[in-house]
C-alpha cells in the first residue's frame, strides 16, 4: 500500500510541476490509494495540493495528537472529522465528474495535517493554535501563494462536532452530507466470540462459575480495587482526559501536576498503589501478625510492618506536600 502511495505521490508531484496544482482526478487516485479516505498531508505534498488553480474545494484539519501539546479538543475532534470525510467519499467515490448533472458541482477533498508531519505547512500558514479546520474553495488564481488568502475557518462550538461540521460545510459548499459511522466488524466479532465462549464456559463449568460468583474474595477484591481507583482520581482522568505525564522541554518529565484541583493520569496509579499498600499492610498488621506463634518473629514482623507503614505514609505526605499548597506537615524531609 505504502509503495503504491509513494509512486503515486512521485507521479503527481511530477505532474504538479507542469500544471501547478493537482486535478480532481489525480487527487481521486491519491484518495483511493489508502483505506482511510482522508488524505494525510505531509510537507512534500501540500504545495501540489493547494497551489494554483483548482476546481474542487479542500477541507483541511490541523491538529496534533502528540502528548507534548496535549490538545484535548484535537483528540476529541479528529475521529469525527475522519468520519465526515470518509462518509463523503463513500457517497461520492469518484466525485461528481461522471455524474451527468447540468450544473458543474465541485468536489470536496478532506485532508488531515498532523503537526508532526507537516511542520512547514504550519509555518507557511503561521498557525499559532490548533485545532483548526480550514476550507479552501475552488480558485482561479495562478500565483503560487494565492491559496493562503482564500481561506475560511471553522468555528468550534460545544456540541456534537459531526453535525456542526456538516452544517458549516453545507453553508460553504451547498452540498448535502450524510454520515456513515463505520461499523467496527472486528469488535463485533470479538464480542460475539467472547460471549459465545463465555456462555460455553458457564454451561460447562457451571458449579465453578457459581462458586466464583459467590466467592467473597472476588467481590471484596473488586470492591476494594474500585474504591481505590475512585478515591485516587480515576474519574478525574476519565472526564478531563488529562495526559499521562507532562514532558517538558529538555526531556524532563513531570509526574505530578501542581495544584489541588489537578493531576496527571500517572498520579492515579501511584496514589492508588500507595493507598493499596498501606491498606494491605494495615490488614496484615491486625489480621495475620497476631497469629504468629513465635514472639520474636512476631516482634520482628510487627516492627517491620509498622516501619513500612511509616515510610510509605511519609512518601505520601511528601507527594501531597509537593502539590504546592503550602502544606506544612512532613514526617520525613525529602
Amino acid at each position: 500500500m505504502l509503495k503504491i502511495r509513494s509512486i503515486l505521490l512521485a507521479l503527481v508531484c511530477l505532474a504538479s510541476i507542469v500544471s501547478a496544482g493537482l486535478t480532481s482526478a489525480e487527487l481521486n487516485s491519491l484518495v483511493h490509494a489508502n483505506g482511510d479516505k482522508v488524505l494525510q498531508l505531509t510537507d512534500d505534498i501540500f504545495e501540489p495540493i493547494l497551489q494554483g488553480r483548482r476546481e474542487h474545494s479542500i477541507v483541511v484539519l490541523l491538529s496534533s495528537s502528540s502528548p507534548q501539546i496535549n490538545c484535548v479538543l484535537c483528540r476529541e475532534f479528529e475521529p469525527e472529522f475522519h468520519i465526515v470525510g470518509n462518509s463523503w467519499i463513500k457517497d461520492h467515490p469518484n466525485g461528481f465528474e461522471d455524474s451527468d448533472e447540468e450544473e458543474k458541482k465541485q468536489n470536496i477533498y478532506f485532508v488531515h495535517a498532523e503537526l508532526a508531519n507537516s511542520k512547514r505547512f504550519y509555518t507557511e500558514l503561521q498557525i499559532n493554535s490548533i485545532p483548526k479546520v480550514l476550507f479552501f474553495p475552488p480558485s482561479e488564481a495562478k500565483s503560487p501563494n494565492a491559496w493562503k488568502k482564500e481561506i475560511s475557518e471553522y468555528q468550534f462550538y460545544a456540541g456534537d462536532h459531526k453535525r456542526l461540521l456538516i452544517s458549516w460545510l453545507q453553508q460553504e459548499t451547498g452540498h448535502t452530507f450524510n454520515i456513515y459511522i463505520p461499523v467496527n466488524y472486528s469488535k463485533i466479532a470479538v464480542n460475539a466470540v467472547i460471549t459465545f465462549i463465555g456462555a460455553l464456559v458457564v454451561k460447562r463449568f457451571s458449579t465453578q462459575v457459581c462458586a466464583l460468583l459467590t466467592s467473597r474474595l472476588l467481590w471484596s477484591g473488586l470492591s476494594i480495587v474500585t474504591i481505590l481507583l475512585f478515591t485516587s482520581g480515576y474519574m478525574f482522568n476519565q472526564i478531563r482526559g488529562v495526559p499521562y505525564v507532562l514532558e517538558q522541554e529538555g526531556g524532563n518529565v513531570q509526574y505530578f501536576a501542581p495544584g489541588q484541583q489537578n493531576q496527571f493520569a500517572v498520579e492515579t496509579q501511584v496514589i492508588s498503589f500507595i493507598y493499596g499498600i498501606l491498606s494491605v499492610l494495615f490488614v496484615v498488621l491486625i489480621k495475620k501478625l497476631p497469629e504468629i506463634k513465635y514472639s520474636s518473629v512476631r516482634l520482628f514482623t510487627v516492627i517491620l510492618t509498622s516501619t513500612l507503614i511509616f515510610i510509605i505514609f511519609s512518601i505520601l505526605l511528601i507527594i501531597f506536600g509537593g502539590k504546592g499548597l503550602g502544606y506544612p506537615y512532613r514526617f520525613l524531609s525529602s
Binding site: 499559532n128 460545544a158 474500585t226 489541588q260 493531576q263 491498606s279
Partner: protein, 747 residues
C-alpha cells in the same frame, strides 16, 4: 472488647456505670471539639452568613419568622428573576428554615431568650455537627461495637470533608442533612436487623425530614433499595427485611410527597423507580416463599420460572409504556451528569460551569480525610470478612459513595461519613488486637494458669519473660505509631479547617505592606450602597452568582440568582454581558434594568471575578443564541484569553470588558493599567468608553463596580452621539481623582 460481668466493680461503683459516664463525657468533648473547630470564621471575622446560597436561606428564614408558616409555603417572590418571579415556597426545601424557625421560637417563647435569628442561622451547622457525631456513633456501634463508634464519632466531628460544608455561617441545606442522613441510616440498620416496625417508622420519619431539607435525599431513596436488592440476590430474604422495607417505603414515600417541591415526584420520576421496583420485588419474594411452603419442589420450580419471566416482561414493558406516555418524568439533567459524564459538558453548560460539579482530583480526597482514606479500604475488607447484613450496606455505600465523590467535588460530603465509619472499624480492630494486654498481665499475676485467657490459640507453653517483653514491645510500637498518626490527623484537620474552609468569602482578608492584616469588605460596601442609594424597586442585573447576596444584603430586585431554574433567563443576562453596548442596551431596557453590577478583581488580584467567569457567560448564552454569540470570538488571534492590547474586538466591545476596565487606566497616572489577576497590561490608548451606562459606584478596592443604565435620550438622539456631545460640552469638567488603594490579597 472485654465484656464485663455485671458484678464487676471498681471503687465500689459498677463498671458499666463508669463506662456510661465516660461515654457521656467523651460525647460532650467530641461535640465540643466539633463545634469549636467550626468557629474559626466567627472568631476571625464576625458572626456572618457565608458565601451565596446561605444568603438565600437566611432571607427565607427571616421571611418565615416574620410571616406565618403558611405564608411561607405560599411565598411568591417577586424580587428575584424579574420579571418572572419565583414560586419560592414551592421550589425550596423548607427543612432548614423550619428547623431554625422552631429553634428561634423555642428559645424566645419557652426559654425567654430572644436570640437574633441571624445568630441561630450562623450557629446551626456547628450545632448539628455535634449531633452528626452522635448519630455516627450509633451507626458504627451497629456495625462493630461502641469502641469503633466512639472513634467514628471523633473522626466525623473533625474530618475536613464534612467541616467544609458546616462551618459557622455556612447556613446551607447540607448543614443539617448529613445529620439526618446518618440518623436515617442508623434507624434503617436497626429496623433491618430487628425487623421492627417501630424503627422502620423512625427511619421513614427521618427520611421525611431529610426530604424536606436537601435534594440529596435521592441518595437514600436509592441506596436502601439497593441494599435490599443485594441482600435478596445473596439469598438473605427474611421477614425482618420485608417488614422493615415495606414499612419504610410506604410511610416514607407518602410522607415525602407532603413537601410541595417534591410533590408527585416519588411516583413519577425515574430517580425513585428503583425504590418502587424493589418494593414490588419484595412482595413477589414474600409471595414466592408463601407458595413454596405450600407446594412441592417441582411444582414450585415451574411456578418460579414461569412467573419470573412473566413478571419481568410485565415490569419492563410497563416502564417503557409509562415513559413513552409521559407519565414518568425523564431523568433529570443533574442525574444524567452523574452517570454519563460527558452529558453535562455537551448539553447543559450551566451544570458544567458550577465548580462544585467538577470531578475530584486525588489531593482533594487526601485533603479532606487524610489518613482515613487509606484506612477506608481496610475497613471495607474487614466488613467483607464478617459480612453480616449491615456490612453489606457499608460496602454498597462505600463503592457508590466513592464513585459519586470522584465525579463531583461536592459529593465528597456524602462520602466522608462512610470513610469515617469504615476507618473507625479498621482502627478499632487494631486497638482491639494491640491494646489487649490480658495475656501479658495474666501470666504475670497467675503463673500457674495453663491457658491465656484471650481465646488465642497459642499452645500452653508457659510464656517466658522474654516472650512477654517481645509482646509488650511489639504492641507498644504499633500503638505509639498510631497514636502519633492520630495526633497528626488532628493537626491536619485543624490546619485544613483554619486555612481552607473558614473564609466567609463575603469578607476577604488582606495583608498590608507592613504585614499587618486587615479586612476587605467591598462586597458589603457595595450592597449597602445599593440599599441606601437606590430606589426600593430598582432592578439590579448581575451574574447569577451574586443574585442571592444582592437579594439578602442589598434587598433589591435581581434578574437571575443562584437558583438556576431558568437557563434562558441566565443566558439573557450572559448575552447582555458579552455583547456590544447597542445590543446590550436593548436587552437592559427590555428588562427594566436600572443598575448593573460587576465584580472586578484586577486591581486587588482577586481571581474569582467576573472576567474569569466570563467565558461561562459566553458559553451559556451561546447555547441559546448560537448565531449571535461565538465563544471563539472572545479569544485573541492566537487563541488565548487576553484582555490586553491583543484582545479580540468582540472582547473589547463587550459590556463586561468595558464595565471592568472603565477608567481603570486612570489609576495608573498616564501609564498602562496592570490587571493583577490576568497579569496583562491594559493599554492607556484603548481605555474603554461607555455610552449607555454611567458609573454609579465603585468600592474602595474596585472589587465591585456598579453602573447605572442611562435613560433614553430626552431629545431622541442615540446614546452614542449624546455621550459624545456631553463630552465635548463638559471638557472643562474636573476629572474625578482616584487613588489606588495599597492592599494585598491574602491567599
Amino acid at each position: 472488647m472485654v465484656t464485663s460481668k455485671p458484678q464487676e466493680k471498681l471503687f465500689g461503683v459498677r463498671v458499666e456505670t463508669i463506662r456510661s459516664l465516660l461515654r457521656v463525657i467523651i460525647f460532650i468533648s467530641i461535640a465540643g471539639a466539633a463545634i469549636s473547630s467550626r468557629l474559626f470564621s466567627v472568631i476571625r471575622y464576625e458572626s456572618i452568613i457565608h458565601e451565596f446560597d446561605p444568603w438565600f436561606n437566611f432571607r427565607a428564614t427571616k421571611y418565615l419568622v416574620t410571616h406565618s408558616f403558611y405564608d411561607f409555603l405560599n411565598w411568591f417572590d417577586d424580587r428575584t428573576w424579574y420579571p418572572l418571579g419565583r414560586v419560592t415556597g414551592g421550589t425550596l426545601y423548607p427543612g432548614l428554615m423550619v428547623t431554625s424557625g422552631v429553634i428561634w421560637h423555642i428559645l424566645r417563647e419557652k426559654l425567654a431568650l430572644p436570640v437574633d435569628i441571624r445568630n441561630i442561622c450562623v450557629m446551626l451547622a456547628p450545632a448539628f455537627s455535634g449531633l452528626t457525631a452522635i448519630a455516627t456513633y450509633f451507626l458504627t456501634k451497629e456495625m462493630k461495637d461502641s469502641n469503633a463508634g466512639l472513634l467514628a464519632a471523633i473522626f466525623m466531628g473533625i474530618a475536613p470533608g464534612y467541616i467544609s460544608r458546616s462551618v459557622a455561617g455556612s447556613y446551607d441545606n447540607e448543614a443539617i442533612s448529613i445529620t439526618l442522613l446518618m440518623a436515617t441510616f442508623y434507624f434503617w440498620i436497626k429496623a433491618m436487623k430487628l425487623g421492627s416496625i417501630y424503627f422502620a417508622t423512625l427511619t421513614a420519619l427521618f427520611y421525611f425530614y431529610m426530604v424536606s431539607a436537601w435534594g440529596g435525599y435521592v441518595f437514600i431513596t436509592n441506596i436502601i433499595p439497593l441494599h435490599v436488592f443485594v441482600l435478596l440476590i445473596m439469598g438473605r430474604y427474611s421477614h425482618r427485611l420485608y417488614t422493615a422495607y415495606s414499612t419504610w417505603y410506604a410511610l416514607g414515600t407518602l410522607a415525602s410527597m407532603q413537601i410541595p417541591f417534591v410533590g408527585f415526584l416519588p411516583i413519577r420520576s425515574n430517580d425513585h423507580m428503583a425504590a418502587l421496583g424493589v418494593f414490588g420485588l419484595l412482595q413477589l419474594f414474600s409471595f414466592g416463599f408463601y407458595v413454596k411452603s405450600k407446594v412441592t419442589g417441582k411444582q414450585f420450580r415451574n411456578f418460579l420460572v414461569f412467573s419470573s419471566i412473566f413478571v419481568s416482561f410485565l415490569g419492563v414493558s410497563a416502564l417503557f409504556a409509562l415513559t413513552a406516555l409521559g407519565w414518568i418524568a425523564p431523568w433529570t439533567g443533574r442525574f444524567y451528569s452523574l452517570w454519563d459524564t460527558n452529558y453535562a459538558k455537551i448539553h447543559i453548560p450551566i451544570i458544567a460551569s458550577v465548580s462544585e460539579h467538577q470531578p475530584t482530583a486525588w489531593p482533594a480526597f487526601f485533603f479532606d480525610t487524610n489518613m482515613l482514606i487509606w484506612l477506608f479500604p481496610a475497613g471495607v475488607y474487614l466488613c467483607f470478612q464478617e459480612l453480616r447484613d449491615e456490612h453489606v450496606f457499608i460496602i454498597i455505600y462505600s463503592v457508590l459513595g466513592s464513585y459519586f465523590a470522584g465525579v463531583m467535588v461536592r459529593l465528597m460530603l456524602t462520602l466522608t461519613p462512610i470513610i469515617c465509619v469504615s476507618a473507625a472499624i479498621a482502627l478499632s480492630k487494631m486497638f482491639d488486637v494491640y491494646m489487649n494486654l490480658v495475656d501479658v498481665l495474666k501470666s504475670n499475676g497467675e503463673d500457674n494458669s495453663e491457658e491465656t485467657g484471650s481465646g488465642k490459640k497459642s499452645k500452653a507453653k508457659r510464656p517466658s519473660t522474654n516472650d512477654k517483653l517481645f509482646s509488650i514491645v511489639s504492641k507498644l510500637a504499633v500503638l505509639l505509631s498510631f497514636a502519633f498518626y492520630l495526633v497528626y490527623f488532628v493537626l491536619h484537620c485543624t490546619w485544613v479547617t483554619s486555612n481552607a474552609y473558614s473564609s466567609p468569602s463575603v469578607v476577604l482578608a488582606s495583608r498590608g505592606p507592613d504585614g499587618s492584616s486587615s479586612i476587605i469588605d467591598d462586597y458589603r460596601e457595595a450592597y449597602y450602597w445599593l440599599r441606601m442609594n437606590t430606589p426600593e424597586d430598582a432592578k439590579v442585573m448581575a451574574w447569577w452568582d451574586y443574585g442571592y447576596q444582592i437579594g439578602g444584603m442589598a434587598d433589591r430586585t435581581t434578574l437571575v440568582d443562584n437558583n438556576t431554574w431558568n437557563n434562558t433567563h441566565i443566558a439573557t443576562v450572559g448575552k447582555a454581558m458579552c455583547s456590544s453596548e447597542e445590543v446590550a442596551y436593548d436587552i437592559l431596557k427590555k428588562h427594566d434594568v436600572d443598575y448593573v453590577l460587576v465584580i472586578f478583581g484586577g486591581l486587588l488580584g482577586y481571581s474569582g471575578d467576573d472576567l474569569n467567569k466570563f467565558l461561562w457567560m459566553v458559553r451559556i448564552s451561546e447555547g441559546i443564541w448560537p448565531e449571535e454569540v461565538h465563544e471563539r470570538d472572545f479569544f485573541s488571534d492566537k487563541g488565548l484569553y487576553k484582555v490586553d492590547g491583543e484582545a479580540s474586538k468582540t472582547m473589547k466591545d463587550s459590556l463586561m470588558y468595558k464595565m471592568s476596565y472603565y477608567r481603570f487606566t486612570d489609576l495608573f497616572g498616564g501609564r498602562d493599567g496592570i490587571d493583577r489577576v490576568r497579569n496583562q497590561a491594559i493599554p492607556l490608548s484603548q481605555s474603554p468608553k461607555l455610552n449607555v451606562l454611567d458609573e454609579a459606584f465603585t468600592t474602595q478596592n474596585w472589587l465591585v463596580r456598579i453602573y447605572k443604565v442611562k435613560d433614553l435620550d430626552n431629545v431622541g438622539r442615540d446614546l452614542h452621539s449624546a455621550t459624545k456631545f456631553d463630552e465635548s460640552a463638559n471638557d472643562m469638567k474636573r476629572k474625578r481623582i482616584i487613588k489606588k488603594p495599597a492592599l494585598d490579597l491574602r491567599e
